[in-house]
Structures are given as C-alpha cells and as structure tokens.
C-alpha cells in the first residue's frame, strides 16, 4: 500500500506545486500550497513522522498559510500586471531550474536509490520528540523561542498604522455601492491603487512656494 499512497500524495503535492507556479492570482497559489502541505503531511506520516505531520497541518496549513490568505485578502492582491523587467530571469530561469533539478535528482538517485523506505520502518513517537526537544535541543529551542518573540514584536511594529502614531485623524470610511473591492479596500483604508491592475503614480506634491516669492513674481 505504501507505493500507492506515495504516488497518490506525491502526485497531489507535485500537481499542487505546478499549479502554484502556473496560477497567476496569488490566492490560488496560496491554496495550491495548502494542498501541497496537506499532501506532504501524509508523506510525513508514511515516513513515520507523526508529530511533524500534524504540526505541518496545524502550524503551516492552519496558521502560516491562513496568514498568507489574510494578507492576500487584505491587500486584495490580484493578477499582477505583466511586466518583463528582468531579462536575466527570463533568459536563465528555466535552464537554471532544470539544471538544479538534474543535479539534485541525479545525485539523489545515484546515492540513495538502494535505500528502502517502509511503513513502520522507523516511527518517531511524540514523546521521543519531546524528549529530544527539551534535552538535546534545548538551547536551539529556547533560541528559536526568542527569535519568534522578536519576530512577532517586529511584525506588530511594522504593520502598525503610521497615521495613528502621528495622531492624524483616521481616514473616513466611505461605502461605494457597486464597486465592492474598492469599498473593501477603503474600509480597511488600504490605498485603492494597491489593488493590482494599473499602478497609479502617486500625485506629485504641490511645491509649496514661499508666499513672498510668489508675490515678487506677480509684481514683475
């Protein structure tokens, strides 16, 4: 049953990854990645990593990717305009990817082609993970905790509204009937031109000419 499960879920993972690549709207890429993660969780189970499998679901699919979906919704990220600024990426992207894949796959096939994987060949108990985590890997664990705390603090700071700190009045929420996406963005006070599509150049600030200079000009 193991090969069948591997090919089914490996296939799902592969399909999800390819779909991630070809989809142009970020929301579909994100959902494809969720699918990949789910499939990978099953592969982890096949490899005897129960804890990691469910942590994959809880943390990756249930928390990180939700965050992605949230941000995509918040920024109303849509299909990006088809710019082709990077000639390098266009020219060497596929060859580089293919070369890397050939190198890695060739090496793996040559080196580990004979090592078998069986269901139940090696089962990692949750308790064993806990033991290792709090004895052998205690320092990395604590360091990671601190890193995480710092990261969360930084995220809050970065995402905080600038206007509120400067005490400016919050933007009034207007409801435009008929253009829901626009209304949503305004309700969240995200600039409407952040919604993909054509990029509107920010209006140039009017040069505040000193009054006396203008008066002189008038005089002439």
């Amino acid at each position: 049953m193991h090969p069948a499960l591997f090919f089914i879920f490996g296939g799902i993972a592969l399909a999800g990854a390819i779909n991630l690549l070809v989809q142009r709207a970020p929301i579909y890429s994100a959902l494809s990645l969720v699918a990949v993660m789910g499939a990978l969780a099953v592969l982890f189970l096949l490899l005897g990593a129960e804890f990691i499998a469910f942590i994959q679901i809880i943390v990756y699919a249930g928390a990180i990717m939700v965050l992605f979906v949230f941000v995509i919704m918040l920024l109303n990220a849509d299909v990006p305009e088809p710019t082709r600024r990077s000639k390098v990426a266009q020219a060497i992207g596929y060859p580089v990817m293919a070369l890397l894949l050939v190198e890695l796959a060739g090496f793996f096939a040559a080196a580990f082609g004979a090592t078998p994987v069986r269901t139940g060949g090696y089962l990692v108990q949750v308790a064993a993970v806990g033991q290792a985590l709090f004895h052998e890997f205690l320092l990395p664990f604590e360091v990671t905790s601190v890193l995480f705390l710092v990261g969360v603090t930084g995220a809050v700071l970065l995402a905080a509204r600038r206007e509120e700190r400067h005490g400016a009045a919050p933007r009034a929420t207007r409801v435009h009937a008929g253009v829901p996406t626009r209304a949503m963005a305004e309700a969240l006070s995200v600039p409407p031109n952040a919604m993909g599509g054509a990029v509107i150049e920010p209006a140039p600030q009017p040069e505040s000419e000193p009054a006396h200079a203008r008066a002189q000009g008038d005089g002439r």
Partner: protein
C-alpha cells in the same frame, strides 16, 4: 577537611558593586549610589574577616580552582585563587583600607559630579586589586595587574574635562604599559620554561634549581623582567614619573590607589616571586639598588615641593623604595610589614591632606594654606591635625609609631641581613633623615601659623608652576566651584572647617592603626607569620654587623634630627631657610624642578619618538605605503565597481536568478570535485 572559603566571592562582591553603579547609578540619587558603592566593599571586607575566622581550619596554602578560563594546547589557566599568609595580609589591607577610603569618599566627593561613576570605578579598582592579590596563577594576577592599571587611569582622569587630569591619566597608563611589557615578557619566559602559570607548579620547579650567579641565568632574567613590571606599577626609578602627576585624581583615589594599595602591587609581586629572586642574587642586588636610589632620590625632591599632595606623592615613591630595599635584602617579611604600616599612615596622610584641601575649599599649596588660615590651620581642623601628626610621626620613624618598627626593621636587614650592604644602608638612613625633614616641614607649614609676611610664601626667582596653577584639585570641576560659592571665597575670608563625620571617622580609625599598627611586628611576630611563604629553600647566613639596638638608635636620632631641622627652618627661623635657598640656588633649582627628569625623558625618549613617528611612520609609512595601498585598492575597486554596476539592475528577480545560477554552480562543483 577544608571548609570551602569561596574566595572568588570577595572580588566578585566588588564587581557587583561596580556593575550596579555603572549600569544603574545614573538613575540613582547621590545618596543611593554612594551607599551602594560602600556597601559592596563592606560586604567584601566582612567576607574577608570571615575568611580570617576560618584561618585555623585550613591548610596553607589554600587553593581554590574553578572552571578553566583558557584551555589551549598545553596552556591551561583555571580561575584559580590562592590564599596564604601573604595574600591574607594583602587582602585585609585592600579590603580594610579600601572600605575606609570608600566611606571617606562619601564625604569628600559629595560636591562632585559623576558621583556614581566615581564609586563604580573605585569598586572596579577593588575588584581588580583583590583579583591581583588572591590570584592563584601569574596570568590571573596579570589580569588584576592590568585591571588596576586601567582603574587607575580612569580615576586619575576622573575630572576628564581638565586637560592636565586626562594627560596625567594617559601618562600613568603609558608609563605602566612600559613596565607591563617587561612583566609580560617575564611571563612568557615563565611559561616557556615551566609550562604553567600556577604559583605552586612554577615554584615547585624553581625549588629544584640552583642559585644563579650569571646575568644571563634564566631566573635572573625572569626576575629582572618581572622587576621591570614592578618599577612601572610601584613607581621606581626610572618609571616613577607618573605617580606625582597621578595626584590630578581625586584625593581618595590618591590615598587608595597611589599610596595604600595599587602601587604596592609591585612589592607584592616581587615578594610572591620570592622563590625566583632568592635564586637570582644579581637580580636582587638590582632591586636593592633601585629601591635605595629611589628612596633617597624621591625624598630629596619631596623636600622642596609646595603642593601638599606632591609632597606625599614623592614620599610614597620614596617609601616604596624602602619596600624594594627590603625585598632586595631578602627580607620580604619586613617589606610586607612596611607595606602594611605604609598603607595605614600614607592612607591617613592622604586622607588628612584631602581633609585639609576640603577645609580650604580646594587649596593645595601648603604655603598659601598657611597664609590663608590665620593663626594656623590647626585651630580649625583639630581632628585632621592630630591624625596627620600621628601619621607624620609614623612615617618619620618616631619611636613608638608604626613606621618606626617597619622602617627600622628594613634598615637593620639591609645592614646585617642575608645580603648585607652598608652603603645602601647609609643611603636609606639619609633618606630617612630627609623623610623626617620634609614630612615635618609639611606638617608645620600646613597646620601651624606662619609669618605674617606674604613675601615668604611666594619664593622669589623661579615661580613654580604649581603656584600658578594654584592647585591641582582647586576648583577641579563645577563641584568645588559650587562649594566655593556656598562658602565665601577662600582668598578673601577663609573659613576653614572641619570635615564631616564620614571623613573624620576613617581618619581616626587609620590614626589608631598608624599609631599602634607597628606593635604587631614586635619580636618579629609578623615576619614569622609570613615566613612560610618566603621559605624558598635558600637560606643564607646573616651577618649581624651591628646590634639591632644600635641601628635603631641611629634611626631614632636621624628622625629626631629631621624633626628639629624642619622646626628650625620652618617655625623658628624662616629667614634661615631663605638664606640657605639663596646660597644653594643651583641645587635648589635642580631639586625644585625634580632634577628635570620629565624634561630629560621628553628630550631623550618622547621627542625622538615623536620625530620618528612624524617623519618615518607618518610621512613614509602611513602616507606613502599604507594610504597608498589603501587608495590604490580603492581606485581599483572603483574601477571594477563601475564595470560591475551594470549588473545591479535593482530587480529582485534578476538578483534571485544570479543566486540560483550560483547555487547551480556550487552544487555542480561539489558533485564533481567532492567535499574535502
């Protein structure tokens, strides 16, 4: 069974005080900072007393080794501490006198800025000094050695807004560096030959070696190199020049660091290395000669100083010379004994001087003090006067006071100890005469009423710098300026006043110690106590050239003669002093200008060095070679950059592509070549 003494705790307590004050002191009130600064040394002192109470329960030397500090190949240096009779005495002196001076500082520094900083630095000094005396190996001792040097540097330059203070700090630091260089090379020799820095290991091997009589002998070389370090730290010829300038620091600092403790580190180190010196008589003779020459040389300069702190500074140099004389005569016990009594009376003298300066709102010139305090300062500051008198008697060797016992012992050992030398004994005795003279001169001029004529207080001819600067401490910062504002200015109507209790109590305690501290050494008890440390396996016959009594009589008479001379010239007949000065004008100018040693050093070392630096190092090496290389590289880099910047498109995806390409190449390389 050994009780665990936790020796590390004693320096660590001081370190805690340092850390607390340095990190948090800025936010504390002056009172809190001060009490924190005093509390931790007090705790260290109590801990030291507890260690003393455990003395009977331990076997000496008591060794305490914590985790290794450095472990590199054959070099293993633990955090090791050692307690024996020698470090016990040093530990008690450092914590005890240190504590008193901390308390004193509470009063003395009350009007200064940077109060917390001052106590933080003092605590730091205590930490390093205790590390120095409690260390169980040379390298840890060296850390303390360098640390006290640094503490001394920051404390001398405490009033860093004043150019002379920061210059003096730098001078002290650089002069010490020269000595430390010798010390370091000595340490390298030690490690090269004994493969260890531990006292016990090194001395166990030294004990197997014979006595050397050649200048090139290993122990002689080590001894001389270590002594170079000691001359720097303990201000001996030729590296003594920093100590008088160090008086730029606050007076408690002068008392603690530049009189009682740090400057004696060199003596302690030589005594600690007794096993090495005992087997290197040539090195010992150098120590003896240097000590004796320093003693008389500094004493002679001290005679004509006008600044009360400068007098005490040269006196310190001179007394340190005595200690080295003792070491040179293999009478280490006597040296340490004098070190201890010196800590008492010289600490007291400095604190007394500080009290006087405090009373005179910053005035340090003795003759001006005399002129400004009508009827003699004695009437205004009785406690200071009496304690100062005790200390003066002690240092001059008036019988019954502590200095008499220790100095007499040294002179006796030099004359008839294991390395008898009548010539150096004579030099030391003359230095003692000078000591008595200049100390009583200082006492009389400072505290007794002077002649009403102002002319006498301003000697004609050479107008000394010290008078122009009119004091080193005077108005040192805004603090004393406020102080002067609070009281009427010193020049119009001086209102000298006795110092607060936080200053007088340490004075009294030190006064008691200075008066009676010498009785510890009666009947060689002190030296017998220390003897196990200095029992190095080398015993030379003594040469009782004279009975101890006769030597003592000479010492006593010398001290009294000095006293009487001072009284004659500065109390009885001031005109005689003036006459004498004019008749010996040349000598007077030579001595008054401290033999132009600073100028000589400037001419011989500093100027050529500066010129060399300017012409060769700056013009050729720096501008030509280093700058040329750097600029050349920069030009090259600019050329390459202007070519490569085409590649920096600013596009994230392009960058990522380059990274990907790089990864492909790296993986390919690893696969083809393999990982080595």
């Amino acid at each position: 069974m050994h009780p665990n003494l936790h020796l590390w705790l004693i320096p660590f307590l001081c370190f805690l005080g340092f850390a607390c004050n340095l990190l948090l002191g800025r936010t504390w009130s002056q009172k809190t900072a001060g009490w924190v600064g005093v509390l931790f040394p007090a705790a260290a002192f109590v801990d030291a007393l507890w260690v003393v109470s455990q003395w009977s329960r331990i076997t000496v030397p008591y060794l305490e080794t914590h985790s290794p500090w450095i472990a590199a190949g054959p070099l293993t240096i633990p955090y090791g501490f050692q307690l024996d009779q020698l470090s016990l005495v040093m530990m008690l002196i450092v914590t005890g006198v240190g504590l008193l001076i901390h308390v004193y500082s509470l009063g003395y520094m009350a009007h200064e800025g940077g109060f917390y900083r001052f106590f933080a630095y003092l605590n730091m000094f205590m930490f390093f000094m205790l590390l120095l005396v409690l260390a169980g190996n040379y390298l840890l001792m060296f850390i303390g050695w360098e640390g006290v040097g640094f503490a001394s540097y920051v404390l001398i330059g405490f009033f860093f807004r004043k150019d002379s203070a920061s210059a003096a700090g730098m001078k002290a630091f650089i002069t010490n560096r020269i000595g430390d260089f010798g010390f370091l090379i000595g340490l390298f020799f030690i490690f090269d030959h004994f493969h260890s820095f531990d006292y016990t290991t090194v001395f166990a091997q030294v004990r197997q070696m014979p006595v050397e009589h050649a200048w090139s002998g290993l122990l002689t070389v080590i001894g001389l190199l270590l002594f170079v370090g000691a001359t720097g730290k303990s201000a001996q010829i030729p590296l003594y020049v920093w100590l008088p300038d160090a008086m730029e620091g606050p007076t408690p600092v002068s008392a603690l660091i530049h009189a009682a403790t740090m400057v004696t580190a060199g003596v302690y180190m030589v005594c600690r290395s007794a096993a090495i010196y005992d087997r290197a008589p040539l090195a010992l003779s150098v120590v003896l000669a240097t000590g004796a020459l320093t003693a008389i040389f500094a004493a002679s300069i001290g005679i004509l100083q006008r600044d009360i702190k400068k007098v005490l500074a040269y006196s310190t140099v001179s007394q340190l010379g005595y200690m080295f004389m003792a070491c040179g005569a293999m009478a280490y016990g006597a040296g340490i004994f004098h070190l201890m009594t010196h800590a008492f009376f010289k600490g007291l003298l400095f604190l007394g001087a500080g009290s006087v300066i405090h009373a005179m709102s910053g005035e340090q010139d003795m003759f001006r003090i005399q002129a400004l305090a009508p009827g003699g300062l004695r009437r205004y500051v009785p406690i200071t006067f009496w304690t100062f008198l005790i200390a003066t008697c002690a240092i001059s060797g008036i019988p019954g006071f502590s200095g008499f016992f220790s100095k007499d012992k040294i002179l006796y050992e030099v004359l008839s100890g294991q390395h008898p030398n009548a010539f150096w004994w004579a030099v030391g005795t003359i230095a003692a005469l000078m000591t008595s003279f200049y100390m009583f001169r200082a006492l009389f001029v400072t505290f007794l009423a002077g002649p009403e004529t102002a002319a006498l207080s301003h000697p004609t001819g050479q107008e000394p710098r010290a008078v122009e600067a009119h004091s080193v401490d005077a108005g040192f910062t805004a603090g004393h300026a406020e102080h002067q504002a609070a009281h009427p200015p010193a020049h119009e109507a001086a209102h000298p006043h006795e110092s607060p209790a936080s200053m007088t109590v340490p004075l009294i305690i030190l006064g008691i110690l200075a008066a009676f501290g010498g009785y510890i050494g009666l009947g060689d008890r002190f030296e017998n106590f220390l003897a196990p440390v200095f029992n190095t396996g080398v015993v030379l016959p003594t040469h009782p050239a004279a009975s101890e009594l006769s030597v003592s009589l000479i010492s006593i008479s010398v001290a009294v003669v000095g006293l009487l001379l001072a009284w004659f010239y500065y109390v009885k007949n001031r005109q005689a002093a003036e006459n004498l000065k004019h008749s010996l004008a040349g000598l007077y100018r030579l001595v008054f200008n401290k033999y132009w040693i600073d100028e000589l050093y400037g001419l011989v070392f500093t100027r050529p060095l500066a010129a060399f630096s300017r012409v060769v190092l700056w013009r050729i090496v720096d501008v030509g070679m280093i700058d040329g290389t750097v600029n050349g590289i920069a030009t090259f880099a600019r050329g390459v950059g202007s070519g490569l910047r085409r590649q920096e498109s600013g596009n994230i995806r392009s960058y990522a592509s380059w990274v990907g390409l790089g990864a492909v190449v790296v993986v390919l390389y690893v696969l083809v070549v393999g990982v080595r």
